[in-house]
Symmetry: C2
Subunit: 363 residues, 2 copies
């Protein structure tokens, strides 16, 4: 078991750090509105991040899932919105094309997604009214509404999954309406409600079948977990910096035990969340991967909320001003926790895994 990144991966993460420091430095986008990821799309493409997990034969960088989530977490520690948008494109959409199966159409999609000329987001249309037109499912018609899709407001393309397959559509396909929302947190991630009005979708034979929705869900859980770890990491860092800078009673407040304890506990939680995220991303067994991804998402979302709350307390009243970035991180963390929590779907894979095995737990 080797839990260290190789030299090449470390180099990648270093260059992503430098990139984030340059384009996304904390504070530069204070409250974050508009589509930052869109504004620096070509810079992200230059780094190869849109297709980072796709093989080099398909013009990608060939990163493992573990390196992929590490990159998303690193971006998210500067801008959770950018982390989420890159994760949606690179791990969910490109991940489906890359890990989803055969060589034909999926390979072509992978090449397209790796180029990053348009950014894509994933739309889970499994609850749309779906009428299959051809008996072989190769032509289907979609009608219905998918609420709160991250990235949809600014994405040029949608990767749509439905019970019988998946397809890549342009956002301006007739019949598709994208209604953007202004949100409390993750304000630059481009949340939108996507409506399909009797949209005809032609599905290649390679992209038929119901495995895509599960894979997309799994990848989305990993992206959520990575973004949450990034938010937690960012909140820890700005809190430590603030505590070392802010003086009370003649010394930095970082010297007071009450602050040290909050910070130590936050650091422990970040590292526990990061460790679980890496283990989930590295899992190779299909049955356990979903359970681990759900665990990582569930855990790191809670951690991100907790650490940003601690961070607000460390910042005192200033934490509530937009002068400090902790205010944005607090909103981002709670938004991320809230979007998944209403239906708590991430608890089901965990419970199935735990109830299915007894003595050796999950490991």
């Amino acid at each position: 078991m080797d839990l260290e990144f190789g030299a090449e991966d470390q180099l990648v993460i270093q260059s992503v750090l430098q990139f984030a420091e340059r384009y996304l430095a904390q504070g530069q986008f204070g409250g974050e509105t508009g589509d930052i990821a869109h504004r620096i799309r070509s810079e992200i493409a230059d780094l190869g991040l849109w297709g980072m997990c796709i093989d080099s034969s398909r013009h990608g960088l060939g990163f493992s899932r573990v390196t992929g989530v590490a990159v998303v977490a690193t971006l998210a520690s500067y801008s959770a919105s950018v982390g989420l948008v890159v994760g949606q494109h690179a791990l969910v959409c490109a991940g489906l094309a890359h890990w989803g199966g055969s060589d034909g159409t999926l390979g072509t999609l992978a090449t397209l997604l790796a180029r990053g000329t348009t950014s894509y987001c994933h739309v889970d249309a499994s609850r749309c009214v779906l009428s299959s037109v051809s008996p072989s499912h190769e032509v289907v018609r979609l009608s219905g509404t998918v609420p709160l899709v991250p990235g949809a407001a600014h994405a040029g393309g949608l990767l749509v999954t439905f019970p019988s397959g998946m397809a890549l559509l342009s956002s301006d396909t007739p019949g598709i309406t994208v209604l953007p929302h202004i949100t409390l947190g993750l304000c630059s991630a481009g949340w939108a409600t996507v409506t399909f009005d009797n949209v005809t979708v032609c599905v290649e034979a390679d992209c038929l079948g119901n495995k895509f929705a599960n894979l997309a869900y799994e990848q989305q859980l990993l992206v959520d977990a990575a973004v949450a770890v990034g938010i937690a990491q960012g909140a820890l860092q700005v809190s430590v910096a603030y505590a070392q800078d802010r003086h009370q009673f003649g010394k930095p407040i970082s010297d007071f035990q009450a602050i040290q304890w909050k910070i130590a506990d936050s650091a422990v939680d970040v590292e526990a969340a990061r460790s679980l995220l890496f283990r989930a991303a590295a899992e190779v067994d299909g049955t356990r991967r979903l359970a681990y991804a759900a665990m990582a998402a569930r855990y790191s979302r809670t951690v991100a909320s907790g650490i940003t709350r601690h961070g607000m307390q460390i910042h005192g009243g200033y934490g509530y001003t937009t002068d400090y970035v902790i205010e944005r991180l607090f909103r981002d963390a709670h938004h991320l926790e809230g979007v998944a929590e209403p239906n708590h779907s991430d608890i089901l894979p965990v419970i199935s895994a735990v109830y299915g095995r007894t003595r050796d737990g999950l490991s």
Copy 2:
């Protein structure tokens, strides 16, 4: 980055599981008194666990730290006391001899510890009155009391560290008194207060220097973390089994969401703790290793307490009877948390690491 155990390690953990199932099955030692590890010493030796991390050239099995902590956690999920005693011998004492330095005396010690004819525990005598007899520190005299040493009551030998080195002593050395305690939790781990009354210790040149105390502390933190993960795992397992067995309103209580949520959250916490433990054990950088070990210990001890408390609630009133093993796990977890917590020494390495770095946190 590879987070899967290799085939050989998996085989080892399987055989440890079978061993634990046979000799330590939950309930067999209900409240656990006496020295279980002593009673099955030769069986533990047959498995090679006393010297599991020592190279085969020294008659050990050559496990990595990661496999070592996985073995301790597996044992501890059946009997936390046995996990702690094996961890004290195999990871702290044998670990010092193996990872502590040069080839000469330390190598001989490693061979001795790998054989497991006597079980050893570690005594941190850094606060004893110490008078150096020879100018080269090769002969020192120890006087003083070390409270609550796990394993000391039944161990045939003590590995003593002090500011200027370490030495292996027999428990019946004149001047050494071992006073056993009856404890609330971890009742079979043989807790004792060790008193040195002007004991002369001859230290080989190989075993001089102050690095041993730090290494012992680091290894002790890993052992504590592994034992806590084991307790948490055990508590989760017995709680799931109980919930699936116990019926209310015509169905097993495992079907009720209130129980499912407690169990899912416990499972997530166990896996986060285990992931952090593995990452701490795999860390190769000396500066970061102590911080990660402290984080793992701090986190998994809290998790173990929390999960056993949830487990008690799932068991209802029966949890307080000695008919169910959750009662012992509850005591074990709180004992483990309590022993380290009075001085909270594990927070210091974490705070140094966090304050020393800013942007990239610990990873």
